[in-house]
């Protein structure tokens, strides 16, 4: 068991290394003059050269990546160029491990930026997951047990209909109609728990989270419905029924168990993806999370921040994958051998 877990973790780390390398190549091998962009419009050639050295853009990509990887493990100091650090020690910023880089644009380490912006993305993701899991499973079961009825068709059809509209349309509809025009809800703005308490935090989150959850809902309804149906048709369920167990017990004890594994997988990975920032939802509601940070920094060509967010978001996905795999191994011992 532990050997399997260790193997998964090692593969995950290798995957992250590869992810960072590919990201680096994609961004830093581009024909754009990174130093000029980082420096700003009014920069002279000399200033650009200084910026280039300070950020290490004068070095080949693989060396930049090695420096970055070292920073992740051991931390590093900025500016990268030692001569510049010695000339102006008061401007040195230490970035502790795991260091994701330094953003000249924001004048901060990428770590502290991500720490600032992540809470909103995480809050959104958590509430959205709870919403879509609860309603997805509930509606999925309802559809499965009433298979072929109007209720079944209604549930499947309605969730598909909601899925078919673009996220930003749904979000804008909620804001402009439900909140502004009809005044059914208060205007949502992100309120940290420290300010508004759990209730304040939650009430301001649920509209954007619902927008997000509606996108995923259709998948979860269909999946729950399908697995419940499938397992209801299997021999052991028939046996259980034949044994005289009532149908609700059969459903929850046996039917749902079959649906559990794929649900865990999908939830884990979708959750991991969302932690990296739901760009569109955050943008519609103007919630300053990681998605918004991405939009801002890519507009400003602030590559260190972009690379940092890509990696953090990638790590969430890889991490959730590892957790799911290991959880799998617990649920189903055959996996370990495979």
């Amino acid at each position: 068991m532990w050997a399997y877990a260790a193997r998964r973790v090692v593969i995950g780390i290798l995957l992250l290394l590869a992810l960072s390398l590919v990201t680096f190549i994609l961004f830093f091998a581009s024909p754009a003059d990174q130093a000029k962009l980082a420096c700003g419009k009014q920069c002279t050639q000399a200033q650009i050269a200084v910026t280039e050295k300070a950020l290490g853009y004068d070095k080949p990509v693989y060396e930049q990546w090695a420096g970055f990887a070292k920073g992740v493990v051991a931390g590093r100091d900025f500016p990268i160029d030692q001569a510049q650090r010695e000339a102006a020690p008061e401007t040195v910023t230490h970035c502790a491990a795991p260091c994701l880089g330094f953003s000249k644009y924001y004048g901060e380490t990428v770590n502290s930026l991500i720490k600032d912006y992540a809470p909103i993305s995480i809050s959104l993701a958590v509430v959205a997951v709870v919403l879509w899991l609860f309603f997805g499973v509930l509606l999925g079961i309802a559809a499965a047990v009433t298979k072929g009825s109007i209720l079944d068709r209604g549930i499947v059809g309605l969730t598909l209909l909601v899925y078919a509209f673009p996220t930003f349309f749904i979000g804008v509809f909620f804001l402009k109609y439900v909140v502004v025009k009809w005044g059914l809800l208060d205007y949502p703005y992100y309120t940290p728990i420290a300010e508004g308490g759990v209730w304040g935090w939650l009430t301001n989150l649920w509209l954007p989270s619902l927008t997000l959850a509606l996108v995923f809902l259709a998948s979860y309804v269909r999946m729950t419905r399908a697995f419940v149906l499938e397992s209801l048709g299997e021999d052991y369920i028939r046996t259980a029924k034949a044994k005289g167990l009532n149908s609700r017990a059969v459903l929850f004890k046996h039917g749902l168990r079959a649906a559990l594994t794929p649900l865990v997988t999908m939830t884990g990975i979708d959750f991991g993806t969302l932690l990296g920032g739901a760009i569109i939802t955050e943008s519609v509601f103007a919630y300053p999370g990681l998605g918004l940070l991405t939009v801002q920094s890519s507009q400003a060509w602030d590559l260190p921040t972009v690379v940092g967010i890509v990696l953090i978001a990638g790590s969430f996905v890889v991490l959730m994958n590892i957790i799911v795999d290991i959880a799998y191994a617990f649920i189903d011992p055959r996996v370990r051998l495979g």
């Binding site: 200033q47 102006a88 401007t91 205007y187 509601f285 103007a286 940070l293 939009v295 801002q296």
Partner: protein, 582 residues
């Protein structure tokens, strides 16, 4: 000449006066449905917490780097006092004349405007309790020269201060520093600026911009001070650090003594606290105004720098209308004609005659969003007057028949191919399509070229194949010296790789000569006269075609008092007058 000049100043003033009257309220019935509301101008009481909703990030909080109009104006009232400052008046004649702030008076000039000196008041302090000294002002001015470290701020001082090859305080040799300290010298509390040429409107320049603001040397970490704030105004920042994408909380500065200030004219500083919320999301501006329209309990004491979205204007009615202002902004949009590709004057004239400015304005949102402009010099700038080349025989709808006649007469083969470039946005896409359509009916064949973030870099290139470019401009201070020379004087703009801000690569020895005359003018009135002459000449050459003066649409929460705009606040809400009702 003198007579003509005076009339023109008066005309320009009348224009501004009109908009200011509109701004300060009065009878909303006179102004129809879109008029501004009733109690906006009423003065408020001290106390309470004001919320400022800002939909874009500032580039820096370092006074020497600040170049955003609204940031300069609002921070002058809250955080950074200057030697002199523009008063909070709606009357442009008053508003465009600086009054003393940290200095005892508005400065004394000698040697025909080449030397200016100011004396600091007693008792003016930094938020840490230390006195503001002449050396602080001297140091602040010197930082403007370190434009390899202090990037982004105005660079006017570099052209005027009588010192050669001074690299700023960080890299200067003792000799260089000595030379600067003589050019900008301290004698007790009196600072004296020595310039290499006359600078008639220097007080205006440093009232609006912060390039000669004091800066405390012991606080300076160069680039590392980009986001720190050491206040000397009525407020200070909690934590001393501005958060680029989040903003900050402003609380009372206990070291600020109103007795050293002129609160009535410069800053009432009514709220006890200002929550300055930045949200740089693309949608934030629209959402802020949605919130203000709704006027929920959290937003009743809020203002925003975000203009109402044109589509939102149709929702301004009933009680919302009382919280609404519609004013002409200091920003003018214009089209630049590329003088390297459009060499035929007839083509340039035909373009001007058939420009559908009204359609453009309608596409951007209609008469509450912009008004047609007849010159590039905004009505808020001293000496603004209609340019005859554009004002005469022109109803701003574009006249395809007249244009065709001009082209035919000049023997130009139609259709003339034109490439029109602009900075891409959904609104601009539509607005440019309107201009394109009318031009296409006028003997032209127009292709649209919507550009991304690098737009201004692209149109500065000398060898571009673009014929017509959209551009916008606002004066740095209310003088046409900050409009025409930066945009049309070829000498500072041109280099081998760029035409600078002179996007059309317009070059005229006659105009350049007049620019020199204007710069060397000893007094402001003479200067304005020369600048008006230059504008007329630019019109004859069709160096540009004016498009529109943008209008601002502001909304406030229902508990905000003293809500108005002034020329000094760049027609943004004047934060120095704003209070919060209980």
């Amino acid at each position: 000449m003198g007579n003509r000049l005076k009339r023109m100043v008066a005309l320009g003033a009348a224009g501004v006066l009109g908009l200011s009257l509109a701004a300060c309220g009065g009878d909303s019935n006179d102004n129809g449905n879109k008029g501004p509301g009733g109690n906006n101008g009423e003065p408020g009481e001290a106390g309470g917490t004001l919320t400022v909703l800002q939909h874009f990030p500032f580039e820096s909080s370092d006074p020497n780097r600040i170049y955003y109009g609204v940031q300069l104006a609002s921070w002058r009232r809250t955080l950074y006092r200057g030697l002199v400052a523009f008063p909070m008046s709606e009357d442009p004649a008053v508003a465009n004349t600086p009054v003393a702030d940290l200095a005892t008076d508005t400065g004394t000039s000698s040697e025909g405007g080449k030397v200016w000196s100011f004396t600091l008041k007693d008792g003016v302090k930094w938020e840490d309790g230390s006195d503001i000294t002449c050396e602080d002002v001297q140091y602040g001015a010197s930082r403007s020269f370190a434009n390899d470290v202090i990037i982004g701020g105005p660079t006017y001082l570099l052209n005027y201060v009588d010192v050669k090859d001074y690299p700023g305080p960080y890299k200067a040799t003792p000799e260089q520093q000595q030379a600067f300290d003589e050019a900008v010298s301290c004698d007790g509390k009196t600072i004296t600026f020595h310039f290499n040429k006359p600078w008639a409107d220097f007080p205006q320049a440093i009232a609006g911009l912060m390039m000669a603001d004091p800066y405390k040397e012991s606080q300076d970490k160069g680039d590392g001070s980009k986001w720190t704030i050491l206040s000397n105004g009525p407020y200070k920042i909690e934590g001393n650090k501005w958060d680029k994408n989040k903003g900050a909380t402003l609380v009372r500065n206990d070291q600020y003594d109103p007795a050293t200030d002129d609160p009535e004219q410069l800053r009432l500083a009514l709220p006890d606290q200002i929550n300055w919320e930045v949200n740089p999301s693309d949608t934030a501006g629209e959402l802020f105004n949605d919130r203000l329209i709704q006027d929920g309990p959290k937003d009743q004491a809020a203002i925003t720098w975000a203009r109402l979205n044109p589509a939102q204007l149709s929702q301004i009615s009933g009680p919302v209308e009382d919280r609404y202002l519609n004013v002409v902004s200091p920003y003018t949009d214009y089209l630049v004609l590329n003088h390297k590709t459009l060499t035929d004057p007839a083509v340039r004239k035909a373009l001007a005659v058939s420009l559908n400015a009204n359609g453009y304005i309608k596409a951007t949102g209609g008469s509450t969003v912009a008004e047609p402009a007849e010159t590039i010099i905004n009505p808020g700038v001293s000496g603004s007057q209609d340019n005859p080349a554009f004002a005469e025989d022109n109803d701003n709808n574009g006249d395809p028949e007249a244009a065709k006649a001009i082209l035919e007469e000049a023997g130009v083969k139609m259709p003339v191919k034109i490439k029109l470039a602009y900075q891409k946005s959904p609104t601009q896409d539509k607005a440019m399509a309107i201009i394109q359509q009318t031009w296409n009916e006028s003997g032209f064949e127009v292709t649209l070229d919507g550009q991304g973030d690098t737009y201004y870099d692209v149109i500065a290139q000398p060898d571009k194949d673009i014929d017509v470019m959209w551009a916008g401009w606002g004066a740095d201070w209310p003088s046409a010296m900050t409009v025409l020379p930066p945009l049309f004087d070829s000498r500072p703009n041109f280099s081998s790789t760029t035409c600078g801000n002179d996007y059309g690569c317009y070059e005229s020895d006659e105009v350049n000569k007049l620019f020199d005359d204007a710069a060397n003018a000893a007094d402001v009135d003479t200067q304005v006269g020369i600048l008006q002459e230059i504008d007329a000449k630019l019109g004859e050459d069709y160096a540009y075609i004016p498009l529109d003066n943008q209008k601002f649409n502001w909304l406030r929460g229902s508990k905000v008092t003293g809500f108005t705009t002034t020329p000094a606040s760049s027609q943004y809400p004047e934060i120095g007058l704003i209070g919060v009702a209980k």
